[in-house]
């Protein structure tokens, strides 16, 4: 499979504190890759570094094009959608305005309208609440809204930051079922950050284990699942 994203020697941090100390990893076209790790390992920072929300050094290339150091707006225009930590809802706007904003950089109006209907097909609850102020949606609905907004970009790469965070198990199952379906049907490549390692390894093809800003283990999900350290520290058996 072709490489969609290649990361070499990625360093990033906040102010004087460096969080990522030279990461190397790759994402394959059409697959789901997951980054596992404990709190503070640098998972969220990795996603933020890819789309230019923190200062970075090192190489990041998307489909062969260097994107490290570009502005977030420009990286988004190259087809990287980000479902951020905390969901990033525009709480004052309506559900539908939130979704429509996801397609802000696209000019193909007919395709955007079709995508909106398709996404409402995945998340019928959002359609019911299209005129409702987005801040009043439940946590699960806001997570669905964040995913919908990102999908409206019609992205080449979807970055997902803990989509299970703070949600009831049933909702988490539903969201993951839909994510898998979108990946299979529409071939959207995904990079998934998740604290719930068992869940992430279930959906992902590839996994990287991050410890204090370094990749310590990598491989296919099946290999990682059986890795001694991962099993004991992150899967708990």
């Amino acid at each position: 499979m072709a490489k969609l994203l290649e990361v070499k020697g990625l360093r990033a941090g906040y102010g004087p504190t460096e969080v990522l100390h030279g990461l190397d990893f790759e994402i394959e076209e059409g697959g789901i890759t997951t980054i596992l790790g404990a709190n503070g390992a640098g998972k969220t920072t990795t996603l933020r570094a890819i789309c230019g929300m923190v200062r970075v050094s090192g190489q990041v290339s998307l489909g062969g094009q260097a994107i490290a150091g570009k502005a977030t707006e420009d990286i988004v225009r190259l087809g990287v959608a980000h479902v951020p930590d905390g969901r990033g809802t525009f709480v004052q706007l309506t559900t539908e305005e939130n979704i429509r904003l996801g397609a802000y950089v696209r000019s193909d109006k007919a395709a955007v309208a079709a995508d909106m209907e398709r996404i409402y097909g995945y998340f019928p609850r959002l359609k019911e609440r299209r005129e409702q102020q987005a801040g009043t949606l439940s946590g699960g609905e806001q997570q669905m809204l964040a995913i919908s907004r990102a999908l409206m970009l019609s992205p080449r790469l979807l970055l997902l930051d803990e989509p299970s965070f703070g949600l009831a198990p049933l909702i988490v199952q539903e969201i993951y079922r839909i994510l898998r379906e979108i990946n299979r049907k529409e071939r959207v490549s995904m990079l998934l950050v998740e604290q719930n390692a068992a869940l992430a390894l279930d959906v992902a093809d590839h996994a990287y284990l991050l410890e204090t800003g370094n990749v310590v283990v990598s491989g296919t999900s099946d290999v990682i699942k059986n890795d001694e350290t991962v099993r004991r520290s992150y899967l708990g058996y």
Binding site: C51, M53, A71, T72, E73, V76, R77, A81, H82, P84, G88, T89, F90, V91, Q92, L93, E97, R100, L101, G102, Y104, V105, Q133, G135, T136, L137, S138, G139, Q142, R149, L153
Partner: protein, 291 residues
């Protein structure tokens, strides 16, 4: 009774002016979440440009009117880029100081270029009273009409155009806005440009009534603040209604209760009262958020 009606109508006429200043304030607040204290002086300076275009260049009124709006837009846009952009991550106090600096600079520049002598500003409307009434002039009616038209245009722009939606998104949540590809800095600058244009419109309408001098907006800006707060600082429609309420209340209280000398304090009492009793204003949206 006739004197009473006269007070009401001249209150409505003044209200039209306060409403347009309030609209400019709401505009900047919607786009940036700041209250621009220099809004009045920027409007005054734009009005001087309009005056120079009419009286010194000799352009027809409406040509000068729209040219002034365009110049004000470019100026507002540029001020955001040059003065406020570098302060983007600074504490709000730094930004307020910059606003006060702009206020003083524009006031001084106007005096320097155009002198402090009071100037008459023309009106594009006929001078004869409309329909034979003795309460309202054509200029008063025109002011109200233009204000309402600006309001409708703004409402349509923010509600129904993708650019308007992007500007609101950039103001509410800059980080998420960047994540959908909105150029947030550009949106803020556009917001400043729009506000400066609206301020310019207000200035040109005011100047015919109060005459043009570098301090003409100081009192009006206070009424504008009161109107914007009363209507709800994030609600353009509310700001316009607030403008008319403040205009009428100020005139009636001035004529029958506290006397004209203390009229301006009505604005201050209103500002403090609204902030204490109903901070969201009459029509402001009280935000509900689940956490």
């Amino acid at each position: 009774m006739e004197a009473f009606l006269h007070q009401i109508f001249s209150g409505l006429a003044a209200g039209g002016i306060y409403a347009s200043v309030a609209l400019a304030l709401v505009m900047i607040y919607t786009a940036t979440h700041h209250i621009n204290f220099a809004q009045g002086e920027m409007a005054m300076f734009a009005t001087y440009i309009g005056w120079a275009l009419i009286e010194q260049v000799g352009l027809p009124y409406w040509v000068a009117f729209f040219l002034t709006i365009a110049i004000a837009f470019v100026a507002g846009f540029t001020i955001e880029r040059i003065v406020l952009r570098p302060l983007a991550d600074k504490p709000v106090l730094s930004i307020i100081i910059a606003f006060i600096g702009l206020l003083v600079i524009f006031n001084a520049l106007a005096g320097f270029f155009f002198s402090y002598t009071i100037k008459a500003f023309p009106s594009p409307f006929p001078t004869s009273p409309p329909f034979g009434n003795k309460f309202l002039s054509w200029h008063d009616l025109g002011t109200v009409g233009i204000t309402v038209m600006v309001l409708l245009l703004l409402f349509g722009f923010f509600r129904f155009t993708p650019l308007g939606l992007a500007m609101r998104a950039a103001a509410f949540n800059p980080e998420s806005a960047r994540l959908v590809g909105i150029r947030v800095g550009l949106m803020l600058a556009l917001g400043w440009g729009l506000a400066a244009s609206i301020g310019g419109i207000a200035g040109m309408l005011v100047a015919h009534v109060v005459y043009l001098d570098p301090n003409m907006m100081s009192g009006i800006l206070l009424y504008g603040f009161a109107s914007a707060l009363l209507g709800g600082i994030d609600n353009p429609g509310g700001a316009v209604v607030g403008g008319f309420i403040v205009g009428v209340a100020e005139n009636l209280l001035g004529a029958y209760v506290i006397g004209t000398e203390l009229k301006l304090s009505v604005a201050l009492v209103l500002i403090i009262g609204v902030l204490l009793v109903r901070p969201a204003g009459l029509f402001g949206r009280r935000l509900v958020t689940r956490v």
